[in-house]
Symmetry: C2
Subunit: 74 residues, 2 copies
């Protein structure tokens, strides 16, 4: 999914439903704003520092955020 | 909480337990890595683009991530 959509959103389409967790260097959650009417989730991958959009509706992505959050409270 | 701790973590101490949700432009979750042995949560604030560390153990912060995630699946 390429970034920098027509409007002011980062992501053109919905984004990927899956990414390997150990490849994630950083995960960004960008709430809806006047600039972009939908919440966006962008991961930066280790090594390449490539950025990729994730599909906020995908169960995997929602679990991913949950596991990251839970691991923080151990 | 200032950023750029002694090691390679962004955050010096635990971070804030609260931030006004409408002030959040972006929220970053950075999993533990060889560079930094703890998960870090950093928000970028609207307007000033100031970055602030949040305490991953704080209930508020955990709920914040949850509400952002839930709002994405509406």
């Amino acid at each position: 999914t390429s970034l920098y959509g027509k409007g002011r959103c980062f992501c053109l389409r919905d984004g990927d439903d899956f990414v390997r967790r150990r490849n994630i260097e950083k995960l960004e959650v960008i709430p809806k704003s006047p600039m972009c009417q939908r919440l966006e989730i962008i991961v930066t991958l280790k090594g390449t520092a490539e950025q990729r959009c994730l599909n906020p509706q995908s169960k995997f992505v929602q679990n991913l955020i949950n596991t990251l959050r839970k691991r923080s409270s151990k």
